[in-house]
């Protein structure tokens, strides 16, 4: 059960009509396509630089690269509104950048600096930008699935029309918390899109080792939740699936499960010796790289020329050099401040005020020796 097959043969058909523009599907404009292409390149180059910085020990701890999976975040986030709520797991650079977070502040967070999105408290796994409704990367596998459901409930309760996008991996589906979250979302008909990035591995476990079914979408069916599969190496396929899902959710029809078939080109994290998969498998998937693939599409559909694509790459590269320079120069958090910010309303163990009162008040308490038992 070691190596898994190469790119999936099943390529989900685009159900959305291409009627709007004879050239571009899904009603997309050339500007939107360029934007998506640029975002994918941005994520890729951001991570290339992060990997380099990691090798230079500028980044510590864990670093989980999204390289190869960019089409998922980019397709999904472009298919919904900017104020829709976003939660994801620790492999989170793609979510942050596709949501428009400042690459400088993202990189600074990875470097553990004060200008980081979370002032260096969270690091790579915990990027977040509440001003953009990006509620973070979560590192306890699956833990953010009920959290997303709770946010969706808050929207429903407050009659706000934002939906929640909650990204996680195939591995997360083996954890009970995944089921508890899906169950609640289905029970209460919540506006949440569960996006499962099925990249065939949960760390070193192959899909076959984690799950008796290879299609994650099946796991949503027990909750009577509509579920779709899409080609996660094709940004437009993801876009189409999530756009439909968002409409479904936003119109009050409840949660949707989207499975994106994808692959991480790099190890699980930087320390991964990748003993559990064949190089040839990685190669096969690399040939599906979503960036050149969508680049070709853009050229074919005259969204932009090869030259313009190259220009985008150069621009992005410059941005990334800036981001690294910014992160390098950003100050370290002040160690004297390390104890600040644990509470929104701080506690001061030295400041207890004990109203010293007489025993009279308390004497009125009549203890019952045998309290009534509950019926648990």
């Amino acid at each position: 059960m070691a190596a898994s097959p190469g790119p999936r043969r099943v390529r989900p058909k685009r159900t959305v009509s291409r009627s709007v523009d004879p050239e571009l599907p899904l009603g997309l404009t050339p500007a939107q396509c360029r934007h998506m292409y640029r975002q994918m390149v941005l994520i890729r180059r951001f991570e290339d630089h992060a990997a380099e910085a990691y090798a230079q020990a500028k980044i510590g701890g864990f670093l989980h690269l999204y390289i190869g999976e960019e089409a998922v975040a980019v397709g999904a986030l472009n298919a919904c509104r900017d104020d829709d709520h976003l939660l994801g797991h620790y492999r989170d650079h793609g979510y942050a950048l596709a949501r428009g977070c400042d690459p400088k502040r993202c990189m600074a967070e990875l470097f553990g600096r004060e200008d980081g999105l979370c002032h260096g408290r969270g690091g790579s796994m915990h990027l977040a930008d509440a001003s953009r409704n990006f509620w973070g990367g979560y590192a306890i596998v699956g833990s953010h699935i009920p959290i997303g459901a709770g946010m969706a409930y808050a929207m429903q309760y407050q009659h706000r029309d934002q939906v929640v996008l909650d990204f996680f991996g195939d591995g997360a589906t083996g954890n009970g918390i995944f089921h508890e979250g899906l169950n609640m979302a289905a029970l209460w008909n919540l506006p949440i899109i569960f996006i499962c990035e099925n990249n065939l591995y949960g760390m070193g476990a192959t899909l076959a080792e984690e799950s008796p079914v290879s299609e994650m979408k099946i796991k949503a069916e027990g909750y009577t939740m509509p579920s779709v599969q899409c080609d996660g190496m094709d940004v437009l396929a993801v876009y189409a699936a999530v756009r439909e899902a968002a409409e479904h959710c936003r119109s009050g029809q409840g949660p949707v499960f989207v499975e994106a078939l994808t692959y991480r080109f790099r190890g699980h994290s930087m320390a991964d010796p990748e003993l559990y998969r064949d190089k040839s498998e990685v190669q096969r998937w690399r040939s599906q790289d979503p960036i050149p693939r969508f680049g070709e599409f853009c050229v074919e559909h005259r969204v932009c020329s090869q030259k313009e694509l190259a220009q985008i790459n150069e621009e992005v590269e410059q941005l990334m050099l800036d981001a690294v320079a910014f992160a390098d120069q950003s100050p370290w958090p002040d160690p004297a401040e390390v104890g600040r910010g644990i509470y929104a309303k701080p506690i001061d163990p030295e400041a207890g005020v004990a109203p010293s009162v007489s025993a009279v008040e308390l004497a009125r308490i009549e203890a019952e020796p045998e309290a009534k038992q509950a019926g648990i």
Partner: protein
């Protein structure tokens, strides 16, 4: 002032705060049709509807995770975990979600969540009679409250719901039917009891007894026995909040009495009393005439049989003995 039960005090605080603030919602297992396993939420779903009083599946981790998300989305959830034993299933969400987010995301948001749960025993057997307040109280990012009286239950629950941080609010099943004076809500008057303040509930000169929740009542009973039989004047402090502990009040008392007995209901080994002891010996070493004494649950799983349970549970007699050991 009205004489109400601890149960009614909790319910009243929930109800009043729900009336005052639409963002407050309740969620938990069997809290609607059933009325709550300890009947605390009885009548609330009828009054507020199922959007505000939510029946959940039996999914403790999911309940707390969901409540964390609802809090992030702008609500003020009060999640009920039927007993603190089942809170173990939600511990990851409490420790790694609720307690962490404010710090970990650099202060971008907070998690105004209350987890109400229940300690207690009464022939409930090994898995349903535990209490873990010391575990919660050790986690930075949490506030932990354990009221002993109806008035404190009300005042502290109001403070907990209004607090922007996650609060673990632990009730006690054997206190639900106890009654006490609770101030009538007066518009415009502060009705909260601040989190983090202990209370000297009996003044004394010879020994300080620190208790909370049910053990406060045991300490008070012991104080009376000591006064009557031993001529020992015991000061009794109700801790009320376990994180943060109001050490100034404890220390001030010990500086006068020079003797300290800590009364808890969790296991002696690793119980919350160990922590209180550690901190107070540090602050009061030179003031102490003898070792700080602890009254705690014996380090044994709670047996079902009545006779065995009696042999395990800490009582006021044990508090009396602990004081006598020092004198």
């Amino acid at each position: 002032m009205a004489l109400v039960s601890y149960r009614e005090a909790v319910r009243g605080a929930l109800r009043d705060e729900m009336l005052r603030d639409e963002r407050v919602i309740l969620l938990g297992e069997s809290i609607t049709g059933y009325g709550g396993s300890y009947a605390v939420t009885k009548g609330l779903v009828e009054e507020f509807g199922s959007k505000r009083v939510m029946e959940t599946p039996i999914a403790e981790a999911g309940i707390v995770g969901f409540a964390v998300g609802a809090a992030m989305g702008g609500l003020l959830p009060v999640a009920e975990l039927m007993t603190v034993n089942f809170a173990l299933l939600a511990l990851d969400q409490i420790v790694n979600s609720a307690a962490k987010f404010h710090y970990m995301f650099g202060g971008q948001w907070s998690v105004p969540l209350v987890v109400r749960t229940v300690s207690g025993f009464g022939q409930l057997g090994p898995t349903h009679s535990q209490t873990f307040e010391g575990w919660f109280a050790s986690v930075p990012g949490l506030k932990v409250v354990m009221p002993a009286t109806p008035a404190d239950a009300r005042g502290l629950l109001l403070a907990s719901i209004r607090d922007p941080d996650p609060v673990i609010f632990i009730e006690h099943s054997l206190l639900y039917s106890t009654r006490g004076e609770v101030p009538e809500p007066t518009p415009g008057e502060a009705d909260e009891i601040p989190i983090g303040s202990a209370k000297v509930v009996r003044q004394g000169d010879d020994v300080t007894l620190v208790g909370y929740s049910r053990m406060l009542l045991q300490a008070l009973q012991a104080a009376e026995v000591l006064e009557r039989d031993d001529g020992i004047s015991a000061e009794v402090i109700d801790l009320r909040t376990l994180r943060p502990v109001d050490y100034p009040t404890v220390v001030e008392s010990v500086r006068r009495t020079h003797q300290l007995v800590l009364c808890g209901e969790d296991w002696r080994t690793g119980g919350f009393g160990a922590d209180l002891l550690s901190e107070t010996q540090d602050r009061c070493f030179d003031d102490l005439d003898g070792p700080i004494q602890r009254v705690a649950m014996r380090d044994i799983p709670m047996a079902y049989s009545r006779q065995l349970e009696r042999a395990l549970v800490p009582t006021s007699d044990q508090v009396v003995e602990a004081v006598r050991r020092l004198n």
